[in-house]
């Protein structure tokens, strides 16, 4: 958890959280964890200071993937599981944009799971927010890839026989430079993590335990989370300690740790920055349009 810090006072913020609210009414169920995520994101974005039109917000399909539409940023509510590739196309095409990607656990770690490793290893400067509720809400409560073994759902009526994916270990294993977890049960902490993730100059992953009020389990709800969440800061975790981060992340599913598991203390240049360097270096070699074909002349 982030403790109260002394900043802000004295600086007139250029943007208010309201500047990021599109006014479109979310269709989420009342009490859905995603409302908190949205509210935290408005606040985090207002402190980042980039105007909404310089932000591209890409999502896949699922309840949580509706989130871009509730912001004033450019949004793209795309197809199931493909938010990360689309977002990379956006960011690599225009590195000046702030690019945020969001979706659920099914979108990110089931149908789109194959893309995560590659987004991580490329280290494009993106913030990937997964609203993890261990269930498919939009299609009415089927088993999700992060659902605990034994969970009964309408597609696992006798209990799931599968072990869940561990999203935190997954991204840590592929070398993500920023890996954090939070919950709307800790709004200021979650907001600070979102802000920090957005500011991280590379691929940043935030897993948010965002409960499903309709299909979720009682112990996943915000009220329950408040009693069992464990801020990593209170455990004295040093986010630059990768080994310890891996160990702590291994407890996904049994412990609700909140905070930053890992932050690369020396972030390498992100993919989009490297690409820009290459483009700058090679720009001199560009031929005028009319001479592009001369390369094929046979002499």
């Amino acid at each position: 958890m982030t403790t109260t810090t002394t900043t802000g006072l004295g600086e007139a913020p250029a943007l208010s959280p309201k500047d990021f609210n599109s006014g479109l009414k979310p269709i989420w169920c009342p009490g859905c964890g995603d409302f908190g995520v949205l509210s935290g994101l408005y606040r985090a974005l207002s402190t980042i200071g980039r105007p909404p039109h310089e932000i591209a917000f890409i999502s896949g399909i699922g309840c949580s993937s509706r989130i871009p539409g509730y912001t004033t940023a450019y949004g793209f509510n795309s197809v199931h599981g493909r938010a990360l590739p689309i977002a990379q196309g956006v960011k690599l095409s225009n590195p000046d944009l702030l690019v945020i990607v969001a979706g659920g656990d099914g979108d990110g770690f089931s149908i789109g799971g194959g893309h995560v490793a590659h987004a991580v290893r490329r280290n494009t400067d993106l913030t990937y927010i997964v609203m993890d509720n261990q269930v498919y809400g939009l299609t009415k409560g089927q088993l999700s890839p992060t659902a605990p073994k034994g969970l009964k759902t309408i597609t696992s009526p006798f209990g799931s026989l599968e072990d869940p994916i561990n999203p935190l270990l997954y991204v840590l294993a592929y070398g993500a430079g920023f890996v954090a977890q939070s919950t709307p049960a800790d709004m200021p902490g979650m907001t600070s993590i979102l802000e920090e993730a957005i500011r991280y100059p590379g691929f940043a992953f935030v897993n948010i335990q965002s409960p499903c009020v309709t299909f979720g389990q009682e112990e996943q709800q915000v009220r329950a989370q408040k009693t069992h969440m464990k801020p990593l800061a209170s455990l004295g975790h040093d986010p630059s300690d990768l080994q310890k981060a891996l160990e702590l992340a291994g407890h996904y599913g049994t412990e609700l740790y909140t905070g930053v598991f890992y932050r690369n203390p020396e972030p390498p240049l992100s993919y989009d920055r490297l690409i820009r360097l290459r483009q700058d270096e090679m720009a001199k070699q560009a031929r005028p349009r009319a001479q592009i074909l001369d390369a094929y002349l046979q002499k």
Binding site: L24, P51, P52, H53, E54, I55, A56, I58, I61, P68, G69, T72, A73, Y74, G75, F76, N77, S78, V79, R82, L84, P85, I86, A87, Q88, G89, V90, K91, L92, S93, N94, D96, L97, G114, H115, A117, H118, I275, R278, Q279, E281, M282, A283, K284, Q285, A286, R287, R289, A290, I292, L293, A295, Y296, L297, Q298, K299
Partner: protein, 590 residues
């Protein structure tokens, strides 16, 4: 008596280690530098290295329309490999068949094929190579020398080409190759042909020709159009497009993303288009299958995107190294929902450039995914191309909102043309929600049937002017002829030659080649077929997919039949001509 010919088709086959394809490339390079028109097609066994390989080189003083029919000159380094390419390397009685002496006399099976060349020459290629170059590795230089000596192909250009190829190998290798080439020429001069044949001198100035393949021209056309993003995944036979752009695109501020899979490739490209950049992907049939979901997204989000499918034999892995034109149904119909995606098709290496530019223009103008259907033959066949006058080509940009259009901005504003100004992230006042979900004019989700019908109509209506564009069709021959040919893609090259052959025999005929394959331009075909009583729709697919799609939309005259055959079975102009004349006869046309 020496005959001078203006057209010569050579074919070679050997094991991968023999280097026949490299030899073909050297030959092609030399011919094109001299100013000849030339074309080369290659065919390989399935091995990555060391398998059997073959090439055909057709050279002419006139434009070469297709790889040609039976070989004029055949070179077999061993018989087993040679006969494996029976479909590509066909012989006639007139073929000069040259073989490596070591391979022994032609096997009995040659006779069983019905056609035995009258001139069969046995040459001790390995021996000559050893004696001249001091090694048997430089066999193909001897082969090139033999070809040069017998058929009058300028030795200087060949030598220059070989020297360029071996430049980095040191003076010893260069000198050995020179000697091998000279030895080949000397052997040919000492052993004249029974019926000598020499290639006519070209009048075209040297250095006036490009040498390239269709994938080169696709990449170049994309760069010309201002492509700034390529997302793709390696797949034969389209990969060279990505390879070329990987070398070039950075210079123009663009990006190539070799994605983790086909889906990510098109996804990233669509993201780039959303971000306001011209974007493309390239693939072949199986990859195309994986991309179809995002194609649907591109259609409903109304984002420009060029998708190249270099067709190969299918389904599934099929025959990755050989051409087929059987992905037309897939391109036209593999959509979910009511969707119309324009399909453009080049017909040769040269026009791949302009058709690629056109694909970008259509995509950007109409804010739609456009499928460019190339095929393995066009894509990978190297040929000479006259310089292209690019000054006449227009490059279009998407319509972007300005002024009052941003107050407020309605992404899917209903306009007269159906085309709505398209903003992009970074543009103040233009923020909107792109989505795969049906939406209202503002871009907000809508599940209303009324809205869905309106938006469907908008997405179709905006494309209506496209199928009225006659400039996307090539109509040649006698315009009032009752006999017609219809063909597309690489098969169109054969159709053009068949048309010329028919007319040279005094048969009135005409040909239509669509560059816009879909939507079917009903009026253009109706006009074309008005005078027609018989003809052929020529295409390389078992089902005759173009023929059937035409019949979906157009009253195709009864006498117009499908001449369709599976891929990897190239059409021979002479055979097609025969079929065309049969069709004419059947309809009572003389």
């Amino acid at each position: 008596m020496n005959t001078t010919v203006d057209d010569l088709v050579l074919g070679m086959a050997g094991s991968g280690g023999d280097g026949v394809v490299s030899a073909g490339e050297s030959l092609l390079g030399a011919l094109s530098a001299e100013g000849y028109h030339a074309m080369m097609t290659k065919s390989f066994g399935p091995q990555i290295r060391g398998g059997e390989s073959s090439c055909r080189v057709r050279v002419s003083t006139r434009r070469v329309l297709n790889p040609g029919g039976a070989l004029d000159v055949a070179f077999a380094l061993n018989w087993e490999d040679f006969f494996r390419f029976g479909a590509e390397l066909t012989l006639s009685a007139d073929t000069v068949l040259i073989h490596e002496e070591k391979a022994g006399p032609p096997p009995e099976t040659l006779g069983a094929r019905g056609i035995v060349p009258t001139q069969i020459l046995s040459v001790p290629v390995t021996e000559i190579t050893k004696q001249s170059a001091g090694t048997d590795k430089a066999k193909t230089s001897v082969v090139l020398g033999l070809i040069s000596g017998w058929f009058g192909i300028p030795a200087e250009s060949l030598k220059r080409g070989l020297r360029k190829k071996f430049l980095s190998k040191g003076e010893d290798v260069l000198a050995a190759n020179d000697r091998a080439l000279a030895a080949g020429i000397a052997y040919a001069e000492a052993h004249p042909l029974l019926k000598p044949r020499t290639l006519e001198k070209t009048t075209a100035p040297p250095g006036s020709k490009m040498l390239c393949d269709g994938n080169d021209m696709c990449a170049a056309g994309a760069l010309f159009s201002g492509v700034q993003f390529f997302g793709g995944y390696p797949i034969t036979p389209s990969t060279e497009i990505m390879q070329t752009l990987s070398k070039e695109i950075w210079k123009y501020g663009g990006v190539v993303l070799q994605a983790e899979d086909e889906i990510a490739g098109i996804g990233a490209a669509l993201g780039a288009s959303f971000a306001g950049r011209k974007a493309m992907t390239a693939t072949s049939g199986p990859g195309m299958a994986l991309k179809t979901e995002i194609l649907g997204l591109a259609s409903i989000a109304e984002l420009p995107l060029v998708i190249v499918n270099v067709q190969r034999g299918g389904p599934s892995t099929g025959i990755p190294t050989k051409p087929e034109q059987a992905d037309l149904y897939q391109a036209a119909f593999s959509a979910h929902g009511d969707v119309l995606r324009p399909i453009l098709a080049p017909t040769c290496v040269a026009d791949t450039f302009a058709i690629t530019v056109e694909a970008f223009n259509v995509a950007e103008h109409y804010q739609t995914p456009v499928i460019l259907l190339s095929d393995q033959e066009i894509a990978q066949r190297k040929e000479t191309v006259d310089r292209i006058d690019t000054s006449k080509l227009v490059v279009e940009e998407r319509l972007r909102p300005q002024g009052a259009e941003l107050e407020p901005y309605l992404r899917f504003r209903k306009t007269e043309s159906g085309i709505s100004p398209l903003s992009q992230p970074g543009m103040a006042g233009g923020a909107y929600q792109g989505a795969g979900i049906e939406h209202n004019e503002k871009g907000e989700p809508s599940s209303s049937g009324v809205m869905h019908a309106q938006m469907n109509a908008k997405r179709f209506d905006k494309l209506a002017p496209l199928s009225k564009r006659k400039d996307l069709f090539e109509i040649t021959g006698d315009l009032d002829a009752p006999l017609a040919l219809v063909s597309w893609g690489s098969s169109a090259g054969v159709a053009r030659e068949v048309l010329a052959l028919a007319r040279s025999r005094g048969v009135k005929a005409k040909l239509i080649v669509p560059y816009l394959v879909y939507p079917v331009a009903e009026e253009v075909y109706a006009d074309f077929f008005a005078s027609v009583r018989a003809g052929l729709v020529l295409e390389l697919s078992h089902q005759g997919q173009l023929y059937r799609i035409l019949r979906m939309y157009v009253d195709v005259p009864k006498g117009v039949r499908s001449l369709a055959q599976s891929g990897a079975n190239p059409f021979r102009p002479a055979e097609v001509l025969e079929k065309l004349l049969e069709a004419a006869k059947g309809a009572g046309i003389r």
